[in-house]
Amino acid sequence: MTISLLQYMLIPLFSALLIPFVARRRGKLAEIFANVTLLAGLINIGWTLLSPAVLASGFSVLAEDGFSLLMVLTIYLVGLCVSFFSASYGQGRGVNTAYFYPLLLVSVAAMCGVVTSTDFFTLYIFVEVLAVASFALITSDDGREGVEGAIKYYLLTFPASAAIMLGLAVMLLSAGTFSFDSIRIIVYSGASAPALVFSLSLLLLGFLVKSGVVPFHVWTPDAYQGAYAPVSAFLAGIVTKISGVYAVVRIAMFLRLFETGAFRLSEVLMFLGMVSIAVGAIAAMKQDDLKRMLAFSSVSQIGYIVLAAGLATPLAFIGAVFHLFNHATFKTVLFLNSASLEKAAGTRDMTRLGGMEHPMPWTSWTSVIAMLSTAGIPPLSGFWSKLIIIIALWDAGAVTYAVLALLFSALTLAYFLIMQRRIFFGKKSPAAETASEVSPALLAPAVLMSAVIVAAGLLFPYFFSYLAETIASRMVL
C-alpha cells in the first residue's frame, strides 16, 4: 500500500470505532461525525488532486498511483453523498444510526484498503471486509426485503470468494508471492507459468462474479432491489464497483496479462463485457421496479468497463477508469433519486408512477442528466468515456465490438427514456397528485453529483490528461 494513502483508510476506520462510544445515544451526532469525516477526507483528496501546483504541472507531480487516487476520490464522493442523504432519509425507518454510520465508514475504509493495496491477498481481505459491512448495511432498515437482499447477496457472491481463494492458493503455489509488482515482473519475464495464469484467471473469475458481469450477474438485481434505499445507491454506485470491477481492471492493467500469454483470457473478458452490455440493456427494458431496472442498467454499464479492461491498451484503460468514475456518479444519482421517489410517492413501482416531474422537478432533472450521461449523450461525462472506449476498441482492431458497443448506447437510451416517461413525464398519476419534492438535504447529493457529471463532461480535457499522465504513461514498464 502506498503509505500516503493510508490516512484515507485509517481515519474513517478510527471514526467508525469512535462513533458507537461517543454517539450512542445521540443519533444526530453520529451523522455529523460521519459526514464531517467523509467531507474532510473528500476535501483532502480533492486538494491533493486539484491543487494549483498539481494542475499547473499537468498532474505529473503526483507520485501516487493515479488510479487509486481517483478511486479514493470517488469513494469519498459517493460515501459523502450517501451518508448525507441517509441523514435526512433514515428517520422513522428503524435505522440504528449508532451502527449504520460506523458501518458506512468501515465500508469506506475497506474500499480505500481495496484500492490502495498492492497485493492480492490484502485486496481480497478488504474485499471481504467490504462484503461483510455491506451485508449488514443492506439490512439497515426494518423492512423484510433487506434481509432477503442481504441473504441473496451473501449466498450468490459466496462462490466468488471460493474462486478467489482457490486462485490465491494456486498463485502462492506457483509464484510464491501475492505482490502485484512481483507478479508483474514474473509475467513480464516471459516465463509465466501456466499455473500462474490459471490462478489469475481464477481471481478474475471471482472478481467478475463480484462485479456482476453476465452470466454472474444474477445476484445484482435482487440485492440492489432489496437493499435499504440509500444503501442501494452506495452498493450500486461504488461498493460492487470497487469490490469487483476495480480488481478486474487492476488485474488487467497491472499485469498486462493479455499481451503476453493469456490472450484468450482477454477475449473471454471482452466477450463477457459485450454480453453484459447486451443482456443488461435488454433486461432493463421492461422492468417495473425502478431499482431493479437500474440494477440491470448497472450490469450493462459494467460491461463497458470490462470490455475495455479486456482490451487492455492504454487508451482502453483511460476509458475504463473514466467510465468507472462516471458510472459511480450517475448511478449514485439515479439510485438516490429512486430513494427520494420512494420517499415522496411511497412506491417505486413504475406502473403506479407518472407525471412526477410536476411535484419533483429537481429529482426529475437530475435523473435526466444522469440518464443522458449513462446513455452517452454528449457533452456529458458518459459520452467521453464511452467514446474513448470505443475508439480504443476500434484502434485495436476490435471493430465489431466497437460498433456493437456504440449501438447498444441507443438501447441504453431507450430504456431510460421509457423510465423517464413512466415516472417523471407522462400522465399524472394519483401518486403524483399527493407527492411533493423531497427536502433540499435529500436533493443536495443528487444535485452535487449531477454537477460533477456535467463538469466531468465539460472538463474532459483535464480528466483525460490526468488519466493519460498518471495511468497510461506509467503503465509502460
Binding site: G94, N96, Y99, P102, I125, F126, M165
Partner: protein, 163 residues
C-alpha cells in the same frame, strides 16, 4: 514443548467438537474461530507461516464474521427451531476412535512432525512474520473485527428494537 503441542492438539479438537455440537449457533461460530486460531498456531509450529497467516486471516477472521452475521440474520429472521441432534452426540465417540487409531498407526508421522516443529521454531515468530510481511493484512483484520462487532451489534440492536 511436547506438552504445549499436545495441549494445542487437544484444544483444537475440543473446539472443533464444540463447534459441531453446540446448540447455540453463536457459540458454534465462536468455537469454529477458536479452532481456526488453534490450527493456525499448529501450522506455524509446523513451519508453515504462510498457511498459518491465511488460516488466521481467512478462517479465523473472515469466515467467522460471515458466519456470525449470517447467524444473527437468521435469528432475526426466524425462531431457532429444534432439530434431532442425536447423531451429533455420537461424534465425540467417533472422534475418540479416530484419535486412538491415529495415535497407534501414525506415531512415526507425529515424530516426524515434531522434527519439523523443532526446525521451524528457529524461524520467525508468528508475530514478526505477520508484522514483517503482512502488515496490511493486519489492518484488514482489524477492519474485519470492527465490521464484525458492528454487524452483530447492529443486527442485534435491530432485533431488540424489533421485539
Amino acid at each position: 514443548m511436547i506438552e504445549y503441542r499436545e495441549f494445542l492438539y487437544l484444544a483444537v479438537t475440543l473446539c472443533a467438537l464444540a463447534a459441531v455440537m453446540s446448540r447455540n449457533m453463536l457459540t458454534a461460530a465462536i468455537s469454529l474461530a477458536a479452532t481456526s486460531i488453534g490450527v493456525a498456531l499448529v501450522l506455524f509450529d509446523f513451519r508453515a507461516p504462510w498457511a498459518a497467516v491465511f488460516e488466521l486471516s481467512v478462517c479465523a477472521g473472515l469466515i467467522t464474521v460471515l458466519f456470525i452475521s449470517a447467524v444473527s440474520l437468521l435469528r432475526k429472521e426466524e425462531p431457532f427451531f429444534a432439530e434431532d441432534r442425536t447423531r451429533f452426540r455420537l461424534l465425540p465417540v467417533f472422534a475418540l476412535i479416530v484419535a486412538i487409531g491415529g495415535w497407534i498407526a501414525g506415531w512415526p508421522f507425529f515424530e516426524a512432525l515434531a522434527d519439523y516443529a523443532r526446525f521451524g521454531a528457529r524461524g520467525q515468530s508468528l508475530g514478526s512474520m505477520l508484522w514483517e510481511s503482512r502488515r496490511m493484512d493486519l489492518l484488514g483484520q482489524i477492519a474485519m473485527l470492527a465490521a464484525g462487532v458492528l454487524v452483530i451489534n447492529s443486527v442485534f440492536a435491530a432485533k431488540k428494537a424489533g421485539k
